[in-house]
Assembly symmetry: C2
Homo-oligomer: 121 residues x 2
DNA sequence: AAGTTGCTCAACCATGAGGTTGAATATCTG
DNA sequence: CAGATATTCAACCTCATGGTTGAGCAACTT
């Protein structure tokens, strides 16, 4: 069976946006309130145009919203897509929860006893 | 002040690994138990070498571990780095929690009343 | 009107990512 | 030993990414 994957999902864009430390830092800045593109760019050793591209990436991923106010662009966090990412991750929560690891160990012991049948594939 | 960013953090690698639907699907497959590289590759319309690169990306990000068993490589999920990602996201949880949005609305009302001072910058 | 400011756009460049193919390697099977 | 199987490696291609610079364009300021 050949799985057909979509060209680019929202989750792709979100995770890709988060994969860059500059963009994560920008999100963090926005967690303290609205910021203009210039304010977002200021902390980084990078041209304004470069930083502007990062802002655009965040916007395309739906992580921020922009309100043009005169000549400056006011950006603010939009956490809905972050919630999507968190929800995706939450599926795996049981794998890092200590409690379940203990249960897992118990199940392994049972597997070691009744060892003849295949696994859960 | 110019912020100096590290070349590549673990979180960069994790989010980058998660930004690809093939790799996310592989992780999902691994949530059902150990898989060989061949088994991980099978669902995709892609050469084995191509899929093997994805597996390598997941491994470099620390999302999976590999145990060479004869000629096949057995992979299993390692969720610790997923937990790191989830923890990073959890910082923003308050922005998508409904309760806080209500509180936010209340604060906005207060702001509308005492409007003269600057914001929280 | 003229200048400055805030930002985007377009062109460009270097690098890396995702894919391919073909060969190499190591292991299992007969 | 010979062949098949599981996987990686190396070389290559194409396209995207992250950065630059220079120009363009609104919108404020004087």
């Amino acid at each position: 069976m050949v799985e057909q994957l979509p060209i680019s999902t929202p989750l792709d864009l979100v995770f890709h946006a988060l994969a860059d430390p500059t963009r994560r830092a920008m999100l963090h800045a926005l967690s303290n309130g609205e910021r203009t593109v210039g304010e977002l760019a200021e902390p980084f050793a990078m041209s304004l145009a470069g930083a502007s591209k990062h802002v655009k990436a965040l916007e395309s991923a739906g992580l921020i919203r922009r309100e043009v106010k005169g000549r400056q662009h006011l950006c603010r966090l939009d956490a809905a897509r972050l919630a999507d990412a968190a929800q995706w991750l939450s599926f795996y929560e049981r794998f890092w929860t200590e409690r379940l690891n203990v249960l897992d160990a118990l199940l392994r012991e049972e597997d070691a006893q009744s060892d003849t049948q295949g696994d859960q594939r």
